[in-house]
């Protein structure tokens, strides 16, 4: 009940922002910078440049510098579950099996993680709403504080059935759904796939998820094969997501200042 009120409060805040979007930004295409007051009128080409420029570089936010394979190893990201718990679809991501314990291939993890962080950074740059989800109660508080620190949202409690699929009824009409959902663990408390993965796919919302060796990675848009049980690993993920999102938002502010300074020179 309290959780519902909290999420309602959170989505309600966004709701009020969504109202300003509907009225003020008639011309621009996408939801731009997050601010309660309507953004200052900008030129079309300036906003286009702000949007298009990051997509041209492969690593605009330099997320590959945020972590290395050694960091992943030290945080015990490579440790999977036992052989009996292995999910068939995780086999491509496993390096091998040492004395019945699955070892995740960190070379692949590095690539997947870079892709996932890059995607998160771009979505945050464009002012998208990011929702952190985990049903691991051990890490619920950590995930909530991470979300708070980067100005995004978290849902670490019981996932009500119609949270995404029935949102206008549950949270009021005109509610804005998240643009990206980050799963710190894709399983729920009874070791079944989290309902949020299927619901996000239903609502056409991309997902980033840490998939352990007993998880199903097929519906996750950007899976990150890695350990989701060790506190060290989860702390690493939270820290990296927080750093990426903050970096992306700072970059956005920087770009806007840069281009708004040069805007008066271009004819409107």
């Amino acid at each position: 009940m309290a959780a519902r009120a909290m999420t309602r409060g959170i989505l309600g805040l966004r709701h009020s922002r969504a109202v300003t979007f509907g009225y003020s930004c008639g011309g621009s295409h996408y939801a731009t910078a997050a601010s309660i007051k309507p953004p200052p009128p900008q030129n079309e080409d300036v906003s286009d440049k702000i949007m298009k420029l990051p997509l041209e570089k492969p690593d605009f936010f330099r997320v590959s510098e945020l972590f290395s394979l050694k960091d992943l190893f030290d945080a015990r990201v490579h440790l999977g579950h036992k052989k009996g718990c292995r999910h068939r679809l995780m086999e491509p991501y496993l390096y091998g099996c040492r004395l019945d314990q699955d070892i995740i291939d960190l070379d692949q993890t590095v690539e997947h993680f870079q892709q996932a962080l890059n995607f998160t950074a771009h979505v945050a740059y464009r002012g998208g709403i990011i929702l952190f989800v985990t049903r691991r109660r051990q890490f619920g508080h950590l995930v909530e504080t991470t979300a708070k620190d980067c100005g995004e949202y978290a849902h670490t409690r019981y996932w009500q059935g119609g949270l995404l699929t029935n949102a206008p009824i549950q949270y009021g009409p005109g509610v804005r759904l998240p643009d990206l959902i980050v799963f710190l663990s894709t399983l729920n408390n009874v070791f079944q796939p989290h309902v949020g993965i299927r619901d996000a796919a239903k609502m056409n919302i991309p997902t980033v998820g840490v998939v352990d060796s007993n998880c199903n990675p097929s519906l996750v848009t950007y899976p990150v094969p890695g350990n989701d049980d060790t506190p060290a690993a989860i702390e690493l993920y939270c820290r990296l997501f927080k750093m990426t999102i903050n970096r992306a938002k700072d970059k956005r502010r920087q770009m806007e200042l840069l281009h708004s300074l040069s805007a008066p020179s271009t004819p409107s």
């Binding site: 086999e91 771009h122 464009r126 002012g127 796919a201 239903k202 848009t221």
Partner: protein
């Protein structure tokens, strides 16, 4: 009054937001991107309603398309072992070490990143000696044990060595209850039993 105003503004919001995200809820058909792309191509989703992540996905697609994979419900035929077992050459040495010496004197400390356990030191020394001298396995094993003893690590063998019948002291076979019965019956020979019992108690203690 306020209520009707609110509902009025809600209606306006509904008009703005309700047309947003006509979607398809078929998560098992295609990927998120393919569905949105096709909806946009057919005109169901207007270009103004393009989702934020669409361009990002187009520029940086994932390695594998997130298509739904049907779970095989029938009992699967034996497919080849896709995930190889990880074994090293030193595992032979490690297995022998654990069999003979148990865990070793020092406990494992996985919190330290560069921790070297007793077993690992043994293995390192073994490989070192193997490269220098060409002895066979058993002799090399003993040599490594001696080398570690020199370094100050005492390796205690695990389990009691097998005991042969002759080596056992016959006095140890005596049970204390029998001795007590003897003592009580031979109460007159107390001197001898007094001498005898400390001796036996000492030997039985060892």
């Amino acid at each position: 009054m306020g209520r009707s105003d609110r509902s009025g503004s809600d209606n306006r919001q509904c008009v703005v937001e309700a047309v947003a995200m006509a979607g398809s809820r078929l998560e098992r058909f295609g990927t998120v991107f393919s569905r949105v792309r096709d909806l946009m191509r057919s005109g169901v989703i207007k270009p103004t309603q393009k989702p934020i992540w669409y361009d990002v996905y187009q520029a940086f697609p994932p390695k594998r398309e997130p298509l739904y994979v049907k779970p095989h419900s029938r009992p699967s035929t034996k497919r080849q072992e896709a995930v190889p077992d990880i074994f090293y050459r030193e595992d032979d040495v490690r297995a022998k070490f654990y069999e003979q010496y148990g865990t070793g004197p020092r406990a494992f400390d996985p919190s330290k990143p560069n921790f070297v356990s007793t077993c690992q030191r043994f293995v390192d020394k073994y490989t070192e000696l193997k490269s220098h001298s060409g002895l066979d396995d058993c002799a090399l094993f003993e040599e490594t044990g001696k080398a570690l003893l020199k370094d100050g690590i005492v390796l205690r063998r695990r389990g009691a060595p097998p005991v042969s019948a002759e080596s056992r002291d016959p006095v140890l076979e005596l049970k204390l209850t029998d001795m007590l019965a003897e003592q009580q019956s031979m109460g007159a020979v107390s001197e001898e039993t007094m001498e005898h019992t400390p001796h036996t108690s000492q030997t039985s203690a060892t």
